[in-house]
């Protein structure tokens, strides 16, 4: 194998700085996209299990639309197609004057996509809490909003903590798709380092280790939290 090994390359400037900034972008994308996914997904999950048919319909349409189109295609739709459908001024703003157009587009598209998955998790969590709990709440005079707020959601979230963590880790991995629209996140940076230094193995190994480490850490954290918050008498769904 024709290869000059140089494991120290990544600790040298400027490559170390590059890797750190790229990792920063990856983490930023993940956290911001997660905020979108979690908030929107929770709202949709509530809609999906609500007693009003119109709300259920809205949520179902959203989920089906965003789940059946690949995330990469969705990113392209937001980045290339959406600005062209706007009026000229807005179009220009979205394409260049908005701060960090590629980054923002990546965050929004990953967030909206994952919201559909979070919605399904929230729905299954609410269903797991049970129809009888909901009925009991209504029976003692709570409005539907109160039932959700005091009965369904607190318990649902504790049940679905492992799958939700899984969804966050999926966002973390999906952040790599931002490289297709030019965001220099972690995976893109390894390619760039390979281009400049020809030390592909070292760069790729570093990225692989980082992704594995973050996943491992988040999973370990989740298990700790789950141990403390799990509903007594229920077993938590294994993170799958």
């Amino acid at each position: 194998m024709n290869y000059n090994w140089d494991w120290g390359i990544l600790f040298r400037d400027p490559y170390l700085g590059w890797m750190i900034s790229a990792l920063g972008w990856t983490i930023l994308i993940s956290i911001l996209a997660w905020i979108i996914a979690f908030s929107l997904g929770s709202i949709l999950g509530i809609f999906r299990t609500s007693s009003k048919k119109s709300l259920r319909l809205i949520a179902t349409c959203y989920v089906e639309l965003f789940r059946n189109i690949p995330l990469l295609v969705q990113i392209f739709l937001w980045y290339f197609v959406f600005p062209e459908l706007l009026t000229d001024d807005w179009s220009r703003w979205v394409k260049r004057d908005m701060p960090y157009p590629a980054l923002t587009t990546a965050i929004i598209s990953i967030g909206l996509y994952t919201a559909s998955r979070v919605c399904e998790q929230v729905r299954s969590g609410i269903n797991a809490v049970g129809e009888d709990q909901r009925q009991a709440g209504r029976a003692i005079g709570m409005t539907e909003v109160q039932v959700y707020k005091y009965v369904l959601l607190p318990n649902a979230y504790r049940i679905i903590l492992p799958p939700l963590t899984s969804e966050f880790l999926t966002i973390f991995k999906n952040s790599s798709l931002a490289l297709t629209i030019g965001v220099i996140e972690l995976t893109a940076m390894t390619r760039q380092i390979e281009e400049y230094t020809f030390q592909g193995f070292e760069a790729f190994t570093a990225a692989t280790i980082i992704y594995s480490l973050v996943t491992f850490t988040v999973m370990a954290l989740m298990q700790q939290i789950d141990r403390r918050t799990a509903l007594p008498g229920s077993f938590s769904k294994g993170a799958s």
Binding site: M1, N2, Y3, E64, L65, R67, N68, I69, P70, L71, L72, V73, Q74, F76, L77, F80, V81, E84, L85, L86, T87, L169, K173, N174, S175, S176, L177, L179, T180, T187, T190, R191, E194, G200, F201, F204, A207, T208, Y211, S212, V214, T215, F216, S240
Partner: protein, 220 residues
């Protein structure tokens, strides 16, 4: 703003059709390979020998912590250097998909095997079947029947994941559409078309899975 010209789609139908065929070919082969390797990994995981089950667990956890794009890059750029000879775009991408998806399939199959009642294994052994025979004729068929809807859902996910070959330029449906889009400057039309085609396939497939699930539930 609205000067959409969809005629570019029929005009390039042969290129797009080749792309769709490539997508389906990749999906089909990856599903088969993924299920075979996934079953093997699941069996290793429940084996009584610690080395085997630890290896399987490590494999699954490792591949599930990586982005698919990174795995594709590893196979496409670095493996030929290791192996010492070129591997070809399609083969390296296919291997990447099989290795990656097998990790997810193995978890599904393991859950399926565990869901088959313990008594079945004991009964099969009592009747004189070896472990392998019990697996082959008693446990796995039942596990697969129960897990078919989830396996199919994972297959739909795989179908969507094949769009990631974009990063290495393999001419699947998305890449073929992008070639047309860039060459004839018709981005909006082509990307909307791609989204529509994926949506129709995946939605129809997911309805099929729901129907299948109802039938299985009615049988049990």
């Amino acid at each position: 703003m609205f000067e959409l010209d969809f005629s570019v789609i029929p005009a390039n139908s042969s290129l797009l059709w080749e792309g769709i065929k490539m997508t389906f070919l990749l999906t089909g082969l990856a599903i088969v390979g993924g299920i075979i390797l996934g079953t093997f990994l699941a069996l290793l995981r429940i084996a009584k020998i610690p080395v085997l089950s630890q290896f399987s667990a490590a494999y699954v956890n490792f591949f599930r912590s990586l982005p698919l794009i990174l795995v594709i890059f590893w196979l496409f750029f670095l493996v030929p250097l290791i192996v010492g000879r070129p591997v070809g775009a399609f083969s390296s991408v296919l291997v990447a998909f099989i290795l990656f998806e097998a990790a997810y399939y193995s978890e599904i199959i393991r859950a399926g095997i565990n869901s088959v009642r313990l008594g079945q294994l004991a009964a099969a052994r009592a009747m004189g079947l070896t472990y392998i025979q019990s697996m082959r004729y008693v446990i796995l068929p039942q596990a697969f029947r129960a897990m078919t809807p989830i396996l199919l859902t994972q297959a739909i996910i795989l179908f969507q994941d094949t769009s990631l070959v974009y990063v290495v330029g393999l001419r699947d449906f998305l890449v073929s559409a992008e070639i047309v889009a860039n060459r004839d400057q018709r981005l909006v039309e082509m990307f909307l078309f791609v989204a529509l085609v994926y949506f129709v396939f995946c939605f129809a497939a997911s309805l099929g899975v729901k129907y299948l699930q109802k039938r299985i539930n009615n049988e049990l």
